[in-house]
């Protein structure tokens, strides 16, 4: 399902640049599709530091780091995979049912991790002042598109 978030003013002023404009080669296939979904997500959120799609083993499938962010996406993918796994283990051990998401808040940032099936996850890292509602909405709205791009969707 296509997520229509155009009614939100948040992040509206950000101009989307085509890969060619940034001097990059346009990627094709699943990875190119995934990259363009992450770019679309990035347009909706101000204060974004990173978006990552990765396996539970910490191997990044696709990442997006906006200009100006100093976040190391590969390191983030590895660390967030550990949190993803421990959240799942915790919900299993405490018999709390299926994991829906994990929200980590620190003094300077917030990280939302959402499972994409059993073996991978979608995560968004933002600054602390980004409204949590926007982060949750964007991640929730695009999760199924990302899953489809990974070939997991219905």
């Amino acid at each position: 399902m296509m997520a229509d978030l155009s009614r939100f003013t948040w992040g509206k002023g950000r101009k989307k640049t085509e890969p060619e404009e940034r001097g990059e080669m346009k990627e094709t296939g699943t990875k190119g599709n995934l990259n363009s979904i992450l770019e679309e997500m990035a347009e909706q959120v101000d204060g974004l530091l990173c978006i990552a799609v990765a396996g539970s083993d910490g191997v990044a499938i696709s990442t997006y780091v906006p200009p100006g962010s100093m976040l190391n996406a590969e390191l983030a993918a590895v660390q967030l995979a550990s949190i993803f796994r421990i959240s799942r283990t915790t919900s299993d051990k405490l018999k709390a049912g299926e994991l829906e998401d994990n929200l980590l808040t620190s003094t300077a940032g917030q990280i939302l991790i959402r499972p994409l099936g059993e073996e991978s996850y979608l995560a968004m890292v933002t600054t602390r002042d980004t409204p949590l509602g926007i982060v949750r909405l964007v991640v929730k709205s695009y999760a199924s598109k990302v899953e489809q791009a990974l070939g997991k969707g219905n």
Binding site: K93, L94, A96, E100, L103, L104, T105, T107
Partner: protein, 139 residues
């Protein structure tokens, strides 16, 4: 730590033990299945599970200590400041952990049927301040 800076001890809370405060949190929070203050080794300082709750408090304390340590390490490695709180949302529960000091954390497990995400975060923030005030402090 944010909680540390936000709150000043009052005469009223000074007199109350950590156990009393946690008991009060348990009796006044809707949808609560368990609340506790633990150290970073997963050893409970004060834990309350309301009557009827089937939560294994010792298992929760040990498991959530691992979660808190990992979250703290992640915030540090990604240069996102100090760890503040972590919220695991599952099909039926909110599992919330919040740093009180570098050595202790507050954990709350709530039923999703009886509360909302916003309320869970608000309640945790409010209670964290009270629990922090009641924590024994050694100079």
């Amino acid at each position: 730590m944010a909680v540390e800076e936000e709150n000043k001890e009052t005469e009223e809370t000074k007199k109350r033990s950590i156990g009393d405060v946690v008991e009060e949190v348990a009796s006044t929070t809707e949808g609560l299945l368990g609340v506790g203050v633990m150290d970073m080794e997963g050893v409970p300082v004060a834990v309350v599970t309301p009557p009827g709750s089937t939560l294994n408090a010792e298992l929760a304390a040990a498991q959530l200590a691992v979660v808190v340590r990992l979250c703290s390490l992640t915030a540090d490695k990604l240069k996102l400041g100090d760890f503040d709180e972590n919220l695991i949302t599952t099909a039926s529960r909110y599992i919330l952990t919040k740093a009180l000091t570098p050595d202790f954390y507050l954990a709350m497990i709530l039923s999703k049927e009886s509360t909302t995400l916003g309320m869970a975060r608000l309640v945790a923030r409010e209670h964290a301040a009270r629990v922090y005030q009641a924590l024994p402090k050694f100079e």
